[in-house]
Symmetry: C2
Subunit: 296 residues, 2 copies
Amino acid sequence: MALIGKLVVCGVGLIGGSFALALRDRKEVGHVVGIGRSRESLGRAKALGVIDEIALDWASALDGADFVLLAMPVGQTDAVMEAMAPHLQAPTIVTDAGSTKHVVMASIYHHLDAQLSRIIPAHPIAGTEKSGVEAASTALFRGKRTVVTPLPENDPAAVEMVRKAWQACGALVVDMPPQDHDRVFAAVSHLPHLLAFGLVHELAGRANAELLFSYAASGFRDFTRIAASHPEMWRDICLANRQALVGELDQYLGELALIRSLLLSGNGQRLEQLFEEARQARTKWGEAQAPLIPSS
Amino acid sequence: MALIGKLVVCGVGLIGGSFALALRDRKEVGHVVGIGRSRESLGRAKALGVIDEIALDWASALDGADFVLLAMPVGQTDAVMEAMAPHLQAPTIVTDAGSTKHVVMASIYHHLDAQLSRIIPAHPIAGTEKSGVEAASTALFRGKRTVVTPLPENDPAAVEMVRKAWQACGALVVDMPPQDHDRVFAAVSHLPHLLAFGLVHELAGRANAELLFSYAASGFRDFTRIAASHPEMWRDICLANRQALVGELDQYLGELALIRSLLLSGNGQRLEQLFEEARQARTKWGEAQAPLIPSS
């Protein structure tokens, strides 16, 4: 018997589409309904066999729904939850795929607080350079991690159902408190992008920018590779996660203040120790990584 | 007729050894004398045919010398110049290979101010992961840039001689004022290394460091690759160039303060514009780079 009878996917793009395809492939879903803002892209999803039916409204989508995946851009979360609220039935399990959890939590508590037991935020970590349902595949989540960030009010059986659904897609499921999640990704993903954007932007604005860039070499290349990332996507991530991001930035500013004082006082010994500790940590991490890294 | 009759190389390692080999290869040097702290490594240089003779002291080394390349670690510059001073003859041209120029300038003005016309600081930009005379080659400088940073007091004919010597090694020679040089390299090489060391060090010191690193992905990998660099070498570079480096760090801190305020005020439009400007600059630079990049 399939894990999910009627699945509703809001936002049938790369993530939502791949979720549907993976479950279909494993025969773990019966009927897939798509809902979203673009009738045109939902039409393409249906033509590709990713979904069985396009819902015209939330009332019909949620009628008899077993499981809902919210995979639209995280900035639409609040509007979507407000629209769902009058029609969400008690047994239905809801999860999402947003890369920031506190924004999603705020909307859940605001609009769906009557059903907190069965609304479980999650974050599948999967490649994001491509987008759109044409890029969706059954294999997107295989071997990749999905972080499930349960609310205190969640029913354990409902959380387990969400885990099983992601595992059926081939994902490795891990649990984490939602606020920890946001700080972790702010620290190791969002902040580095911000720092790289900042350095390139600052140098590019100088009168002698061309001279400066002409002397930049391989270290600069690696450090700033992520400064070529998609501006709108990173605007959205930074806005959604700005609370955690400012916290992480402030920690880093503390480190830079330490480094600045070591430079001014010419403390070579402490600088060397700091560089050595970094080198050891980075080398150890690099050796552990080889096969595992998806796009950040 | 060879460009240089008697060449003295102080510090016959990767840089000094390659300079000698390149000039020999082009038959632009007659007799090569090596001098330095390690009799053992000078012995290896002689056995490899990189130098013809090991000098036991500066008096014999500088007797009748046409050209001197100072290629020992930049931290030894002051001691070396002090030792050379009593023996340096008027016609002899002196240049160096240090990656920071103001430290070298200070020592020149301190110890060799009687011969300012013929002492020309320079910086060959060449690969530095390898070291030692065994790694020296005739081709190290081919197609790579050497920055010549003349002092105001330098005799133009002497400067031209230094240019010709580096050109004979295959280097592309460019001129730059010494203080500009230090700021340029602080901005595009030294600061990124410092920033990467700082991020990795700060995260590695946290109680949940293992968890954080376990969620780091490809963006983090690229951004922090240079945090695996050689701690002692970067200690020396940061100490030698700390004046310029603090100046560059302060500029960058200004950029981070701007970004921080944009995050706090949720100014998505300005953030996106900043990211887009960075992306354009980085992409344009990346496209221009392909064949040219030595290690930074």
